[in-house]
Symmetry: D2
Subunit: 193 residues, 4 copies
Amino acid sequence: MASTGPINVIAVSGSLRRDSFNTATLRACQSLAPDDMTIELFDPERLAEFPLFSEDRSAQGLPEPVAELCDKIMAADGVLIANPEYHHSMSSVTKTMIDWVSRSPDKPFNQKPIAITGASTGPMGGPWGQYAVRTCFIPLEGLVLNRPEVFVKSSKTKFDESGKLTDNATAEELGAFLGAFAGWIRTVGGQAR
Amino acid sequence: MASTGPINVIAVSGSLRRDSFNTATLRACQSLAPDDMTIELFDPERLAEFPLFSEDRSAQGLPEPVAELCDKIMAADGVLIANPEYHHSMSSVTKTMIDWVSRSPDKPFNQKPIAITGASTGPMGGPWGQYAVRTCFIPLEGLVLNRPEVFVKSSKTKFDESGKLTDNATAEELGAFLGAFAGWIRTVGGQAR
Amino acid sequence: MASTGPINVIAVSGSLRRDSFNTATLRACQSLAPDDMTIELFDPERLAEFPLFSEDRSAQGLPEPVAELCDKIMAADGVLIANPEYHHSMSSVTKTMIDWVSRSPDKPFNQKPIAITGASTGPMGGPWGQYAVRTCFIPLEGLVLNRPEVFVKSSKTKFDESGKLTDNATAEELGAFLGAFAGWIRTVGGQAR
Amino acid sequence: MASTGPINVIAVSGSLRRDSFNTATLRACQSLAPDDMTIELFDPERLAEFPLFSEDRSAQGLPEPVAELCDKIMAADGVLIANPEYHHSMSSVTKTMIDWVSRSPDKPFNQKPIAITGASTGPMGGPWGQYAVRTCFIPLEGLVLNRPEVFVKSSKTKFDESGKLTDNATAEELGAFLGAFAGWIRTVGGQAR
């Protein structure tokens, strides 16, 4: 139960690019979170070690980096996903992460509060991509925050060269988003599974 | 232009499982195709060599197995995709394939006739998965066959132990599907790009 | 708050057909609900009086049948929707209902627990239709039950001539669905809005 | 066959609002079309006479305004739809139009070239709405143009008080869109059905 104590969130970026705006968005979230929320970023270099998903491989047990993420999700009060949109859908990295985590007998996403955002260099910010990610959590029974939906669009103009978020409006949006996520975790978190 | 001559199709399975029903569906298609259509199955073991998608990796040039698939798509009159549905969406392997091929400067999917099917052991046959795959081809400008849509459901009951399709109704459905695909290729194939 | 007392649900069918299998499914739900859940069916003849949605018409105030449904939703602990799938999407009647209700300044769907099912005469039971309905409740902030998802497929074989559900497996599925909905209402119902 | 002669298109707006930006977008398209394309706007007041869709009503024959639209679609080389997005989906008016037209035994949408756009006052321009409309044309076998996709966003800033499009960038986008639609009609129009 996370009903009154501090909240810890594990964050996963669906991009492996070193200077990814999605990873940068999650780093920005770390400092924009409410005081009682701590956000750990799952190391993108660890995510890069996930193999392509295969049921045969999965039958031999979870690969080590997958098991590590599963443990972190199980221990967390919520999961924050930043998804880059490719081709009107989620990134293959986001989907690979979901396909693998779903194979854990612990069902890490089941009844877990989840919040989804994403950044893109284009003018829309990835509407179809976020929507695609949400869909996966119907059968996996993740509890996805409805709103606010934050689309970090035209991302090249919103971060400096070091990847620091410099756009105040986006910072406010993300702050409100994380505040709503904290409220959502307090409402639905800690459900019997 | 494929307007009157023989048609060659490259087929890709979104599952790496050795005994995959999706791969088995594509093998069945090879013998169910119209006389003037040849279907080559892209080797699943070669697909298994695709790395996770990363823009940084992509900036160094296409990995060899990706380049090989791109060449085969460029040379083909159409692309046939069998997609397993995971979590109300396409498989991460299907999406990885699409994300990588889309990075080729040749734009292999642009104006290319495409047909999508899929198999699942469940009672629906993967409706959301096929729909998710279609969506990607809006921005990539693939020309996806509308109908018939074939959902190979309850697949465990439709193939024998060697992976041979034994269900007559499914064979008829796939035959009609491939016939419609041939017609579609003759209508839209060979467009100026 | 519906945390311990009896639960009352308002049910809306997205079909105006007199012998609609979707309406029949909701009638079946009335007797399959847990003991502490009462389901009222919104009169399909009243729904048939909804005008086509128009913002100009909406600016003059809610039409009377719309206002009546809004009041019933506001007073209920949850909303149950049975949606017929037309053309891989929700029915226009379901969408008309949602478009109108969303115009109430009371925001009847906001933080309201919602469960979605549907019947079809075809072999799938309407997977895309239910999915389309769900999507609307992201921005409207309805709280949609994830699972179980019930697809009443091949509906002609599952009801008798009077519209009574005669298929035991479907009855069990709907019973489990309503039980899960009761649990969901107890978890998230009565949230501050 | 419309392979070389003039092209005539019937346009339908999914909004009944008198000052609708979607209808205004279609009016703008009338003057932005290529020289050999004529666009007729289906009278929104006639669309407003469509009843809510009901299979019982449909069994009595198509209502007169529906039959009129069906005839116009049958006679046209293509259909242009402007869809307002409501609640991450298409408008109920757009869906009502589709549900009714689909009941014609002539199957007016079958193998018909279709282009979809839309306007919204918000910052995105209706990405989910256009996507929802596309989906319907998979089973109806409409031939939907892939790209360019035009999203007329922040529409209040792009039309004058009389509903005339004043934004040059949007005019250029719509012009390119209509040019691509003409090319699409010449490629796939006039198919055997």
